[in-house]
């Protein structure tokens, strides 16, 4: 590679490099990344880490406190609380990723359409967005689950269809600012279609704020889903969903507090990790973003 080529390569990637450098220097973000990766590893290697299968009952050893055999104690039917939490991390990731993907899918699509076409399309989409936004997601999701019935899948679907509004709002605003830029004009001048302009010219330029938003949406999706499981409308036994585990331990709070305490701690740590990471991404990619 010649000196000139090197310089060009450096220049092209310099913005992303700057951003990554800023991210690397952001201590909370690195802590958050560490926590997130740790939880991810736990989820991937759950069978190796968990000392027992998550649904293995041992009726001789119910309500035992933490011990060597059962690091975080046992529950009402002698299942290992630690193993259940370890397996629960898989559900937490699954729920978070699915909810965020659906939300981002709906939200970004609507935002692109509203921002690009403007006019009546914008009025209609913005109206729908404002209306959905008038409901706290938890409340509307609970309403939907009343109708379609409880279950993890239903909860995930309900949360996803009620809380995409932030993606639409951010995308719409960004598209409006990008739409009139020279490179889009240039694309239009060489006869690119609307679809091509949206997907190849505009979309890549609105990804940064959406990435930040997705990182910050993950923990809130996890909190909402756990709240619904905690109320008994989400994952059903014996699924080791963290919210459901907390609910199972509620009755025994006095005699066996470990059953509820540790799953809640797992939720708190995971959510904290994602929030730290999301903050760091925001500071690195788009410090002026108000999220």
């Amino acid at each position: 590679m010649s000196e000139g080529e090197k310089r060009i390569r450096f220049k092209r990637s310099s913005q992303l490099r700057m951003e990554l450098l800023r991210l690397r220097r952001h201590r909370p973000a690195m802590i958050g990344l560490g926590i997130t990766l740790l939880v991810l590893l736990v989820a991937i290697f759950a069978p190796v880490i968990a000392p027992h299968p998550y649904d293995e009952q041992n009726l001789q050893r119910m309500f035992e406190g933490p011990s060597r055999d059962y690091p975080l104690g046992t529950d009402a039917v002698g299942r290992c609380v630690f193993s259940r939490i370890v397996y629960g991390s898989r559900i937490a990731f699954l729920v978070g990723i699915v909810v965020v993907s659906i939300e981002a899918g709906i939200g970004i699509t609507l935002g692109l359409l509203a921002g690009y076409f403007g006019g009546k399309v914008d009025t209609l989409i913005s109206g729908i967005t404002d209306t959905v936004w008038a409901f706290p997601p938890l409340v509307l999701a609970l309403g939907i689950v009343t109708a379609i019935g409880p279950g993890l899948f239903n909860v995930v679907a309900a949360i996803a269809v009620v809380s995409w509004a932030p993606f639409t709002r951010i995308t719409r605003a960004k598209v409006q600012s990008v739409r009139e830029r020279e490179f889009v004009e240039a694309g239009r001048a060489i006869g690119e279609s609307d679809a091509s302009l949206i997907l190849r010219y505009i979309l890549p330029n609105i990804m940064a704020p959406n990435l930040v938003l997705a990182t910050l949406t993950f923990p809130s999706a996890l909190l909402t889903a756990s709240a619904m499981s905690f109320l008994g409308f989400g994952a059903q036994p014996p699924t080791p969903d963290w919210g459901a585990l907390l609910n199972e331990g509620r009755e025994y709070l006095r005699s066996a507090p470990w059953i509820s305490t540790f799953p809640g701690l797992a939720i708190l740590i995971t959510v904290l990790g994602f929030n730290f990471l999301g903050d760091g991404l925001r500071d690195a990619f788009d410090p002026r973003l108000k999220l």
Partner: protein, 310 residues
């Protein structure tokens, strides 16, 4: 004052389609049910054909869908959500009996979050980039990440079961209010402190702050009389918007502490598929959201004349 009047009227006009849209969403909820909602509602109850017909008529489900919607809409706009299937009483009566409890809880929670969150944000901004700032923001993020239901159980474990200071459920006087209000209010500190900090930092960059300092005013006066007073406006608007969200969060908190509010009513209604109650509560919360949004807009418009003429 005419500018203000026009501004308020435009804001109200803008809120109307949202309310109508909300009625469509709330009305549609019951019709998301796969199969016959009446059978779902009656569940395993060995319902006679007469009972099925009775509930169907009671819910108006024997009518075409648009008639059902119009009937539901005209009822809902007058605060009538139909008859509760479980209690066989007016759903709105049940809801409005419980609403004061929820509002009491929400107001107390909000007070707690204001008293703790705003000072945290201000201190953080004043001491920007110092240890105090970093610690305060870590504390804020900690509360922001808190699962409400877990916090409730932990408070219950500590203050109710271990120390025995506070009752773990019910609503017997001020003592029963403390734990539910802390559970709902403490996680709010996070967002509030972060917002307060960023607004404060923005104001501190303004010219009039420099002017105040150049005049030789004491730093304390600059901070609290000039900066805080201006920064707090958008924080107050945020608080307006936060009220309906807290009312929503009350579903979880009231269930944990058996607090006899609207949220617990909704929780029980979900278990029994009591649609008129569920729809009523959701609609009340949506109306609160629209209302407080409107109040927030009017409040800013009142304090900041520039916004009115946009």
């Amino acid at each position: 004052m005419t500018g203000m009047r026009r501004y308020v009227l435009t804001r109200i006009a803008a809120a109307i389609p949202v309310v109508l849209g909300a009625t469509v969403i709330v009305f549609s909820i019951m019709h998301l049910t796969p199969g016959d909602p009446v059978r779902l509602i009656l569940g395993f109850e060995r319902a006679s054909p007469e009972r099925i017909a009775e509930v169907r008529a009671q819910l108006g489900l024997d009518q075409p869908i648009y008639v059902q919607y119009v009937r539901w809409l005209s009822g809902a706009l007058r605060g009538d959500f139909g008859i509760s299937i479980a209690a066989k009483r007016s759903a709105s009566q049940l809801i409005f009996e419980r609403l004061p409890y929820t509002l009491e809880l929400t107001a107390t929670a909000m007070l707690i979050s204001i008293l703790l969150g705003i000072p945290l944000g201000v201190i953080s901004a004043v001491k920007q980039y110092t240890v105090v700032d970093h610690v305060s923001m870590a504390v804020a993020l900690f509360w922001l990440s808190m699962p409400v239901f877990w916090l409730g159980l932990m408070l219950m474990l500590l203050f109710g079961l271990r120390l025995g200071w506070l009752p773990i459920s019910g609503s017997s006087g001020i003592k029963s209010l403390i734990m539910p209000a802390l559970t709902l209010g403490l996680p709010e500190i996070g967002m509030l402190a972060r917002l307060m900090r960023s607004e404060m930092l923005e104001v501190l960059r303004e010219d009039y702050i420099m002017t105040a300092r150049a005049k030789g005013l004491r730093e304390l006066i600059v901070m609290y009389k000039h900066a805080l007073r201006n920064a707090i406006i958008s924080v107050m608007v945020y608080l307006f918007l936060q009220i309906p969200w807290l009312v929503g969060g009350a579903v979880v908190v009231e269930t944990v502490f058996a607090w006899p509010g609207m949220g617990r009513l909704m929780y029980k209604a979900i278990l029994t598929k009591d649609f008129p109650i569920v729809q009523g509560v959701i609609f009340v919360i949506a109306i609160l959201t629209v209302l407080f949004n409107l109040l927030g807009d009017i409040f800013t418009g009142f304090l900041d004349p520039r916004i009115r003429y946009e």
